[in-house]
């Protein structure tokens, strides 16, 4: 297979590191809107290779903004972002799995077309997909157990199937850092488990995953660490330590309904649509 020039990954560096990252909302010329409001404030953290991190926080906490900064599609106003030892600019090893309502499901593409999009950079300008690219695409679909969907139109997929297809696209992209923006919203428990199973499989390849979710139970049970975000990083720790009620109150404030029963804490967020 043709190797493409790629930003090198420095050995021994973390998958992702942020130092004092700030993002303003009002950083563009906008009429009648003085004063900067911060979408992210002094965000500092690091994520090791192969880690699986749940990013948790109320709506408007900056989860999507954080992901866009990591993906390199939004430049922070201040601070430094390093991916495998270098700035985000040259990397195309970062896969961003969009929120479901950000995708036009009526677009005239089939499942294999969508997965092939992950290879567009590796194929290169002015070239067509070759045999090896199709082989990569079909292997990726096989791996997320979606080979039967290959020729389906994407509008015909269920919610869980959509997530599998976008994970297959990340695989075809040979992504090493996968950002998933609330992929589990509205999926039933077995489907969520199936998606987590695919993430387990990715972890064996050393793929690092950041996943935004509203489901604190799931975050506590199936992730290595939890980042509580509310514009600032309120806590970033192993699930038990991160989800202490003090941290939760700090992150969610009045938006949190806490119902303490016999053996634990039942927590529901007030809403769960996109930011």
């Amino acid at each position: 297979m043709k190797r493409t020039i790629h930003m090198p990954h420095e050995p021994g560096t973390p998958a992702l590191e942020m130092q004092d990252v700030w993002v303003n909302y009002a950083s563009r010329l906008s009429p009648g809107n003085g004063g900067a409001r911060h979408a992210l404030e002094a965000v500092t953290f690091r994520v090791e290779r192969g880690e699986r991190v749940a990013v948790v926080g109320p709506n408007g906490a900056g989860k999507s903004t954080l992901f866009k900064v990591i993906a390199g599609t939004l430049r922070p106003d201040r601070g430094r972002v390093t991916i495998f030892g270098h700035g985000p600019a040259g990397h195309f090893c970062i896969a961003y799995v969009p929120q479901r309502n950000q995708v036009d499901w009526n677009f005239p593409v089939t499942v294999e077309d969508v997965v092939m999009m992950g290879r567009v950079r590796q194929i290169g300008l002015l070239r067509r997909p070759g045999k090896s690219d199709w082989a990569t695409v079909h292997a990726a679909l096989e791996r997320v157990d979606a080979a039967a969907l290959t020729h389906r139109q994407i509008g015909e997929l269920s919610g869980g199937q959509q997530q599998r297809v976008f994970l297959a696209r990340a695989l075809a992209q040979e992504a090493e850092l996968v950002l998933m923006d609330e992929p589990l919203n509205g999926l039933d428990i077995p489907t969520q488990e199936a998606i987590i199973g695919i993430l387990d499989d990715l972890r064996r390849d050393g793929v690092t995953v950041l996943l935004a979710t509203h489901d604190l139970d799931l975050a506590a049970e199936r992730f290595d660490r939890i980042m509580l975000l509310n514009r600032r990083v309120v806590a970033f720790d192993k699930p038990g330590a991160a989800l202490q009620s003090g941290n939760l109150l700090h992150a969610y404030g009045g938006h949190l309904h806490r119902v303490e029963d016999g053996d634990g804490l039942l927590i529901t967020d007030t809403c769960c649509d996109g930011e």
Binding site: R28, F92, Y96, W105, V109, G155, S158, Q161
Partner: protein, 286 residues
């Protein structure tokens, strides 16, 4: 079959037919991206903004396409820059430029005695006045547009379906966005003489909209759209000849009839819109 051949004895009809084929092909294929990316308003606006360029070329005796091309490129760059640099919503930025330049074009034209005839030609096309030189220029520009759509096929596909993926793959998204605007500008120049400024939007979006009901993949959508576009062009010229109606509106009316027929067909098959969205899709497969 005589009725098919009869008009061909006139050279100007033959040239009009050839022009209609080129326009039908180029507009309906590029139109697929306009429909998929929701750029219809932009397309309409760009068709109107080239008017001052066309009028200046007309007054100076230059080929109209040259004036249109210069103005089209300037508009494409202007709209791109205005939305990129300010927080104006894109449709507001387009509206400001669109109306201002259109007014300028009409104002310049109104200083002349033959105002109403000239204006009618610019607004609704003058297909039967296509010269051999026009035809060659139109074909050359059309070929360039189709070649670029072919060469950047997979990049335009990613950019249209998932702009964030295009950015994370570090594709040259700014270049591609401007390129698409330029292609729209050039396509409008190609179609100017055939359908005119006011009806441009129809030839850009109607065949592609029809094709979206009939197809499930981008390449087939482009092919079906092209077939509908070329058919509308040719059938429109014949309709114009036999019914003695203006050629631009005739082409657009044929395209609209095709759209209505396709819509009726889709409704009969119980598919009023393209397939249901994922959120409404059936139960999860195991």
């Amino acid at each position: 079959m005589n009725w098919l051949l009869e008009p061909l004895q006139y050279d100007f009809i033959v040239r009009a037919l050839l022009a209609a084929v080129v326009v039908g092909l180029v507009c309906s294929i590029l139109g697929v991206y306009i429909v998929l990316r929701g750029m219809a308003f932009l397309g309409d606006a760009m068709a109107h903004t080239i008017l001052p360029g066309v009028v200046i070329a007309f007054l100076l005796g230059w080929p109209l396409a040259v004036g249109a091309l210069i103005m089209g490129v300037l508009t494409a760059l202007g709209i791109g820059a205005l939305t990129e640099r300010t927080s104006l919503k894109e449709d507001t930025a387009i509206g400001v430029i669109f109306a201002g330049l259109f007014a300028l074009g009409v104002a310049m034209l109104s200083a002349r005695g033959s105002y109403s005839i000239d204006l009618a030609h610019f607004l609704f096309g003058n297909m039967l006045g296509v010269s051999t030189g026009d035809l060659i220029l139109t074909s050359a520009l059309g070929f360039i547009v189709l070649a670029l759509i072919y060469l950047f096929y997979k990049e335009f596909l990613v950019l249209s379906f998932d702009p964030l993926l295009a950015e994370t793959l570090r594709l040259p998204t700014r270049f591609l966005n401007y390129l698409l605007l330029l292609l729209i500008a050039v396509t409008i120049v190609v179609a100017l003489q055939v359908v005119g400024v006011a009806l441009m939007l129809a030839i850009l979006v109607t065949p592609a909209a029809s094709a979206s009901f009939l197809t499930r993949r981008l390449p087939s959508m482009m092919i079906v759209s092209a077939v509908i576009g070329v058919f509308s062009g040719v059938a429109g010229i014949y309709a114009s000849y036999y019914l003695n109606i203006a050629s631009g509106p005739a082409v657009v009316l044929v395209a609209t009839l095709v759209f209505l027929a396709v819509l009726g067909l889709a409704a009969l098959r119980g598919r009023r819109s393209p397939p249901a969205t994922g959120l409404e899709a059936g139960p999860e497969a195991p």
